[in-house]
């Protein structure tokens, strides 16, 4: 059985916010609809195709949109509603492939290489996918199919609205040649101006420009990137990673832990590592699970579900300690400790506390610092080493 020559799909929901609004209110069908901030400084979040014909675009000031299209229907955006629907769209995509990389609420890359036994052509996958989204959610989606990611994305743009576009393997150059370089991934106004300095306007011209000339103009890294794209090359793979069902860490200790202080520290260290993983992925979960393996290989797990989603060490640690307190060690040492968080959510509504006891501010700052300077940039004091000791180690 042959491999799919074009294994990347880019799925892009058409005027997603508008279409979600239309589900609730059919009178919005067939007329120009604009969703966005409706205040004097609001901007357009989404415009229906009817509205786009008059030049209304996303991110345009709402005032400008009203000037162009005074009679369109204007709706305030309702992210909760769109997020809810987005989850349902992604649930369908997840049925097709485990490799789904979300780009936003209404857009994703998929790697469908594994479907070759089920479908004759990638095109058929796109058809089936659009049909399910249409049948189950009554929403239009456009799908681009290509051999590499950035081309799949260009193809979906070509497919819009409500269609499929395939860039067959071997036809990439022909597809790209006549197009303006601005359509390439990563080409902004600055690069555009640099390329114009070389007289380059189309992707075809870019593909033919001598490499050293391009390097002098835009730098080594950008030149390599642009040359690859202009030739239809993109090494990136689809990176799933949305909504992992759980995040956990565990450690097997060289010698069984017996002293309570030693056990406490080990647990705290695991909490901190878990927190680092959660913060990095912008995830939080309400259910904490503790796994303890004793010297005789008996394994005990305990879990509890808190009121607030957990992500910071300061939130996880007290609960983990509480769980560990429930495990009868029966005089044995601990061979392995593991903790994990499930019921993960991203941006779920969070009840804030008056006194800040939800530690949100601290957790937020800690997340930023750890994101920028590394996981150990913020440590519980019990785990921190004196500076001189650290440099020796």
């Amino acid at each position: 059985m042959e491999q799919f020559a074009t294994r990347f799909l880019h799925v892009d929901m058409d005027a997603f916010y508008v279409e979600v609004e239309r589900l609730a209110d059919p009178s919005l069908r067939g007329v120009p609809v604009i969703v966005g901030g409706l205040g004097s400084r609001g901007v357009v979040a989404a415009a229906s195709y009817e509205a786009r014909r008059t030049g209304v675009r996303s991110a345009m000031p709402i005032v400008e949109a009203r000037r162009r299209l005074p009679r369109a229907r204007y709706l305030p955006s309702d992210m909760a509603k769109y997020t809810t629907m987005s989850r349902r769209v992604f649930a369908i995509l997840d049925d097709f492939s485990p490799f789904v990389e979300p780009l936003s609420v209404d857009e994703a890359f998929l790697d469908i290489a594994g479907l070759r036994l089920h479908y004759d052509r990638p095109y058929d996958v796109a058809v089936a996918m659009r049909k399910r989204i249409r049948d189950e959610l009554a929403l239009p989606a456009s799908v681009g199919v290509a051999a590499v990611k950035f081309l799949a994305k260009m193809a979906s743009k070509e497919a819009k609205p409500d269609g499929i576009f395939v860039i067959d393997a071997g036809t990439e150059r022909a597809f790209l040649e006549p197009r303006n370089v601005v359509e390439l991934w990563g080409v902004g106004q600055a690069t555009l101006a640099s390329l114009a300095g070389l007289g380059i306007e189309t992707i075809g011209q870019l593909a033919e420009v001598p490499n050293d000339m391009l390097r002098r103009q835009v730098g080594v890294a950008a030149a390599a990137h642009l040359t690859a794209l202009a030739n239809g090359r993109d090494p990136r793979s689809v990176e799933p990673g949305r909504e992992a069902k759980s995040v956990s860490v565990e450690e097997t200790y060289p010698t069984d832990l017996t002293e309570s202080d030693e056990i406490d520290r080990a647990l705290l260290e695991l909490c901190h590592r878990l927190s680092g993983r959660l913060l990095k992925a912008h995830l939080a979960g309400k259910t904490l699970t503790l796994k303890v393996r004793l010297g005789d290989f008996t394994t005990v797990t305990r879990s509890l579900t808190g009121r607030q989603p957990l992500s910071d060490t300061s939130q996880i640690w007290p609960l983990a300690s509480e769980l560990l307190g429930k495990v009868a060690l029966s005089g044995q040492g601990i061979r392995l400790l593991g903790i994990g968080v499930t019921a993960l959510s991203e941006g779920e509504p969070t009840q804030l506390a008056i006194d800040g006891s939800d530690r949100t501010a601290l957790a937020d700052v800690s997340a930023v610092v750890r994101g920028r300077f590394g996981d150990d940039a913020v440590l519980p004091a019990r785990l921190a080493e004196p500076p001189e000791k650290k440099t020796q180690g």
Partner: protein, 358 residues
């Protein structure tokens, strides 16, 4: 000891004292009610060792003395006798309850095991209007926490001021306070709401005496006396949590808002907030729950300030709006992540409520 009394009167004093009896006390004796007969009075005491309720009744005394009866059982037994006179007596380890035929013979608890509850407080007694005071406790009590893991938050702070008494409670998500001018409470203390909640159902009367010291709070009336061990913890410094000013102000009909939140709550679950979009035309409520559906509605209201959307837990919002006295509710806000303040007429009630971050 041996007494005779009207069934309804006796059932009443037993049942009210029994409200202090915990259902899960590890000490069996605390499942009992102490009945102490002296002069022409029966005094009934129930306690869980933190909260004690004592009720009294004039009875026909046939023989003075003391007994401890099983609280719930004795109270129910008396209540279920035929109407008319009831005799309660205790002798040789047995309690007998009879009236118009039926006869209960119950095992008596060991009288000397009943704890000696210190009941007298040196602090001066302040007399308050019982009905208004109970209403104020209920108003503030909605914000008290029921979570025993954080005892500090399960109480109402009685804060003595020069010009009156202030009641404050918070479960860390909302904070309710009520000023009661003219009540000179003397001491500031933290009284468990679990006890205060029972005042209305046990000893409340037109006039209520309040006494506070650093260990106990006592409330007394012609119908009885409740003492509660105060919570020995420092109440959060709530003043620094109260914003100085709010740029946005919504004034809306209390009934309309309560009804609307009630409808929204049908769709929401505990953790799904109701969103309030505030603008000059009023307030738009909306709630969306995945897999279930949504509800939206608009209420006309007076609003001044920036257009904004803020989300609240439906139950916390209902509690606050419901506690406001008067027909109009004022909601003041700063931004979607800062606390909102609910208040009503001029009764000195304020309810600070943290929003839900969407």
């Amino acid at each position: 000891m041996r007494i005779r009394a009207e069934r309804d009167d006796l059932a009443d004093v037993l049942a009210r004292a029994a409200r202090a009896v915990g259902t899960r006390s590890p000490q069996q004796i605390l499942q009992g009610l102490l009945c102490d007969v002296r002069g022409n009075r029966l005094e009934v005491t129930g306690t869980d060792s933190d909260v004690t309720i004592r009720t009294t009744l004039e009875v026909e005394v046939l023989e003075a003395g003391r007994t401890v009866v099983p609280a719930k059982l004795a109270a129910e037994a008396v209540r279920k006798l035929p109407v008319g006179a009831v005799t309660l007596s205790a002798e040789e380890g047995e309690v007998e309850i009879t009236g118009n035929g039926p006869r209960f013979r119950l095992r008596e608890f060991v009288v000397n095991d009943f704890p000696d509850i210190p009941d007298t407080i040196e602090a001066p007694l302040v007399e308050v209007d019982g009905e208004a005071f109970v209403a104020a406790l209920a108003q503030v009590g909605v914000a008290a926490s029921g979570d025993d893991a954080r005892p500090t938050l399960t109480g109402i702070l009685f804060e003595a001021h020069d010009d009156g008494l202030r009641l404050v409670a918070t479960d860390s998500y909302r904070l309710a306070l009520r000023d009661l001018p003219g009540i000179a409470a003397g001491e500031t203390s933290l009284v468990p709401y679990r006890a205060l909640r029972e005042i209305g159902r046990t000893i409340a009367d037109a006039k209520l005496g309040v006494q506070l010291d650093d260990r106990q709070a006592a409330f007394s009336s012609a119908r009885g006396r409740m003492t509660a061990r105060v919570i020995e913890a420092t109440f959060p410094n709530y003043r620094q949590l109260l914003p100085d000013e709010y740029p946005n102000r919504l004034s809306v009909s209390k009934a309309a808002l309560l009804d609307a939140v009630g409808r929204a709550a049908l769709v929401a679950e505990e953790h799904i907030p109701v969103r309030l979009s505030l603008s000059e035309s009023g307030v738009e409520l909306s709630v969306t729950r995945q897999e279930v559906g949504e509800e939206t509605e608009h209420i006309e209201a007076a609003y001044s300030g920036e257009e904004m959307t803020i989300a609240f837990n439906t139950r916390y919002l209902t509690d606050g709006v419901g506690a406001v006295a008067g027909d109009e509710v004022v909601l003041e806000t700063i931004d979607p992540l800062k606390p909102g303040m609910l208040s009503g007429g001029s009764d000195g009630f304020q309810y600070l409520l943290m929003p839900v971050r969407l």
